[in-house]
């Protein structure tokens, strides 16, 4: 199906995924990631933004055995293989939560909110989770 679609348009749009929710408490983080993975086949210009509690999706050392759910955090490390390489994390969101970039399991760009605001302005399609 995705092949068909790509032949059809050829359009390249800037897709932004806004992640504002923590993992496990709700499914939004996981199902957002599923969209990103499927979306990668469409070869669009993709950026992921982690704002507010969304930064918690990227914390190192998640161990989910105790809650009986699958730890999906390693998938963020695999995004590079899908050519999803633009991951932006809110500097203010990290600071408010007592976290630094060292606490995150993948290389990201830590950016001030004011800068993120400008980057969002440049997008074509914004998906919110």
């Amino acid at each position: 199906m995705s092949d068909e679609m790509m032949d059809e348009g050829g359009t390249i749009k800037k897709f932004a995924y806004i992640n504002r929710k923590a993992p496990y408490g709700t499914i939004y983080a996981l199902e957002s990631l599923e969209v990103v993975l499927i979306g990668a086949a469409f070869e669009q210009d993709v950026s992921l933004f982690f704002l507010d509690d969304g930064v918690f999706q990227l914390t190192k050392g998640q161990k989910t055995d105790g809650i009986g759910m699958k730890n999906f955090s390693p998938t963020y490390r695999a995004l590079e293989m899908y050519d999803v390489e633009k991951l932006y994390v809110s500097e203010e969101a990290l600071a408010a939560r007592g976290l630094t970039a060292d606490d995150l399991l993948v290389d990201v760009e830590v950016v001030a909110d004011s800068e993120i605001a400008g980057m969002l302005d440049e997008q074509d399609v914004v998906l919110s989770f």
Binding site: A22, G66, L105
Partner: protein, 99 residues
């Protein structure tokens, strides 16, 4: 009374309201995304530290571990597993969920 809070304190006012309603001697158990309130050095750490003067703050350890923040918990928070959660429910006269 036992109070449970399952929402992140950074996105919701559930913890704030719970702490207003928790009278002296009661226990507040952080579960699910509510466990993020246990983080040291966060913007709500001071609120939690103050609350500890009158109420017991507990957190569900499996939820902390799942979220990769088990080693970032501030001092003075009582850690429990599901079995300890059950004990808290039984030891107190009733449980109120702050959703």
């Amino acid at each position: 009374m036992l109070h449970t809070v399952n929402k992140s304190p950074f996105g919701s006012n559930s913890l704030e309201t719970c702490l207003k309603m928790a009278t002296s001697g009661s226990t507040v158990l952080l579960i699910e995304d509510g466990v993020y309130a246990a983080l040291k050095d966060s913007s709500v750490a001071e609120t939690i530290a103050q609350a500890m003067g009158t109420v017991t703050i507990a957190a569900l350890a499996p939820d902390l571990a799942a979220r990769g923040v088990a080693d970032k918990v501030m001092d003075g928070i009582k850690l429990v597993d599901y079995s300890g959660f059950v004990d808290l429910v039984c030891e107190t006269d009733k449980t109120t969920a702050w959703l």
